[in-house]
């Protein structure tokens, strides 16, 4: 019981404690301590889940192998983002809702909502916490209070809430299908019950299909699938960089997790073809569109945002193929992408602090001005381009081989073509940043060493995952795949 409650309680209490810490510097210390406690709580929960297979706490909390995998991912990303923020926030002036105190408090609330999504046993609660992720992060997106940030925050709240309203409708329709197929009322939203009773939903096939389409559009909006991706580049570009990392490496996975749960239920009821074809379609569309739009970007953080759309597309394609190998590849890809995108957004954060913006036209002489950051940027850039020896090469290779093995030749060719375009575009955009002479900084700026250390750890993890999958990590992945393909 407490095992699953603890990871949820710590961030809630942390948010309150941080808000109460009014002395300068105290907020960062409280946040750091709470972060360590939270990591311990998540690690404990993951180990217990691993030993027990499925952990249940009351009627509304449950975690299985799939939840455990995503818990590990969000735990790591949050720890990185928090460590980076403590250095990053030194320059933030105190304002209403935009002081470091509010930053940490909202970040912990944001973490709470994402963890709650992973631990909900009920599709209704899952929806509620999914909407809550938007609410918790909207003020963080608009944190800088500039024209761009306010507009991005507004757009984010509006587009994501409209999107997620579709998912609510999808959830209701699935509930209706379950109730009509004789699943008892209060349990008709429980994903484990629904997955076990999926075959009984078959008479209500039309409703189940309707439910999945609405869920795919709704949660797909938050994943950033094209053509519902419009909020994503704005939010990622305008948010403070640690938050961009949390959005890209945490929130998008969280939304995809919701779709994975729906996919498992609908696949059980109708056979895998229907839901897989939809995911494959969204995946290919997102990949293609993002690959083309990366070429024309003029801002580093927007470029990274489009790259997130691209990689979410790749993961969706992996899920859409649906063989155990492809699912393994898709989950591994999500994990690798989280690491690489954290690294890159941290690098972009340093660049924005040093140069005042992250414009691809104005930033020059990076190698000379910020040597550590530019190593991180290049390593991360090579990683998201899918080059060996980084982890994304491995996961993209697995997904591609699964595509060929299942005869999806057209999709495979599209994927390969998109990868080449992205590779060329990244080379074209990143290389000029490094060379040349840096302008004098607008204000004194020194990179803070723990921030660089965090980037180093991200890069190291990516390198390790590209060369060798640790046995414990493989087991974690296999347990998650087993949930998706019983």
């Amino acid at each position: 019981m407490l095992t699953l409650l603890l990871p949820l309680l710590v961030p809630l209490l942390a948010a309150v404690a941080v808000l109460a810490a009014r002395r300068p510097g105290a907020a960062a210390r409280v946040a750091g301590t709470a972060g360590v406690l939270e990591l311990a709580a998540i690690a404990h929960a993951v180990i217990r889940i691993h030993l027990a297979g499925v952990l249940q706490a009351g009627p509304y909390l449950r975690a299985d192998g799939l939840s455990a995998f995503f818990l590990v991912s969000i735990g790591l990303v949050f720890a990185f983002a928090l460590a980076y923020s403590i250095g990053y926030l030194r320059h933030i002036p105190a304002g209403r809702f935009s002081s470091p105190r509010w930053f940490y408090a909202l970040a912990f609330l944001f973490l709470f909502t994402m963890l709650a999504v992973y631990l909900s046993a009920n599709l209704g609660l899952l929806w509620i916490f999914m909407e809550a992720t938007t609410l918790a992060s909207a003020l963080l997106v608009g944190f800088y209070n500039t024209e761009g940030a306010v507009e991005a925050g507004w757009k984010y709240l509006m587009v994501c809430t409209v999107g997620i309203a579709f998912a609510l409708f999808g959830t209701i329709v699935l509930y209706l299908a379950a109730v009509r197929s004789g699943v008892a009322g209060p349990q008709a939203l429980d994903w484990a019950v629904l997955q076990a009773a999926a075959v009984r939903l078959r008479p209500a096939a039309d409703l189940v299909k309707l439910a999945f389409v609405f869920a795919a559009v709704g949660y797909g909006t938050k994943v950033g699938f094209a053509p519902m991706h419009h909020w994503l580049p704005d939010a990622h570009a305008e948010a403070p960089s640690p938050i961009s990392a949390l959005l890209s490496a945490g929130l998008l996975n969280c939304a995809l997790y919701a779709l994975l749960r729906f996919n498992a239920i609908v696949g059980g009821a109708l056979g895998p073809d229907f839901s897989h074809r939809i995911l494959l379609g969204f995946g290919v569309l997102s990949l293609l569109l993002a690959a083309l739009l990366i070429v024309v970007q003029r801002d580093l953080k927007r470029l990274l945002a489009y790259s997130s759309i691209e990689h979410m597309g790749v993961a969706a394609i992996g899920v859409g193929v649906g063989t155990p190998l492809a699912l393994f590849g898709a989950l591994l890809h999500l994990f690798n992408h989280s690491l690489a995108k954290s690294l890159l957004f941290f690098a972009a954060g340093n660049i924005r602090e040093r140069y005042g913006n992250a414009s691809l036209d104005e930033v020059r002489g990076l190698a000379q001005a910020l040597p550590g950051t530019s190593v991180g940027l290049v390593a991360g850039g090579l990683a998201i381009a899918g080059l060996p020896p980084f982890g994304l090469f491995l996961s993209e290779f697995i997904i591609l081989s699964a595509l060929f093995a299942t005869g999806h030749y057209v999709v495979a060719v599209v994927v390969l073509a998109s990868f080449s375009v992205v590779f060329a575009a990244l080379l074209h955009h990143v290389q000029p940043l490094l060379a040349g002479v840096a302008p004098a900084p607008e204000r004194s700026f020194r990179t803070w060493w723990p921030g660089l250390a965090v980037m180093g750890v991200c890069g190291l993890c990516l390198l390790v995952l590209g060369v060798h999958l640790p046995a414990a990590f493989s087991r974690l992945l296999n347990a998650a795949v087993a949930v998706l393909r019983p």
Binding site: L135, T146, E147
Partner: protein
Amino acid sequence: MGWIDAVAANLLASSAGLLLILALLMAATTRARTCILLFGLQSAVIAAQIAALARLHHFAEGWAVAALVVVVKVVAIPWVLLRITTALQTTPIAAAAIGPTASVFVGSGLILLSFAVVRPYVAELGVDPARLAAAVAVVLIGGLLMVTRRKALMQVLGLLVLENGIFLAALTTTLGMPLVVEIGISFDLLMWVFLMGLFVFRIRDTFDHVDVSRLRRLRG
């Protein structure tokens, strides 16, 4: 207590018509305050409908959900929205991309459309076609408000109307979601309105207007 049941049944039968009329009035109105009051009325009709269903089908959860709707959607949200319009002190006109006449015309078209789209499901689900059609129509008219109104506040209202429609659809087809879920959804909605209010003020402070159609900095 036969007459209470009779009243409840009557209310249920006439609620679809009431909701459609309210939705059309919303499409027609040009003043933000009127629109907020109409939203409150719409929520009140929905609350009455839940209470009637709770009475007729003898399920206790219904009373709690009805009370929740009254507190959140009839009182709290309209109150917050009215406070915002007062504080903003902008022109009370809810500037729209199309005029009220065209708006009503499109709205009527959407109502006809909803009657057409629910037809295949009515027989299978065994529900009152008018009530299901009213739910779909409320969703569509909420969408219409969001698409055609340019003021930030009216877009918020459009989404609230849309959500009311989804709520109605759930109510008509399944007697609503479990209570815990309803409470969570209401809480989310309330927080969302607060945050939107916060952003409306920020838009005013940073841009000196609340015309969302002029937010065009971020492109591509």
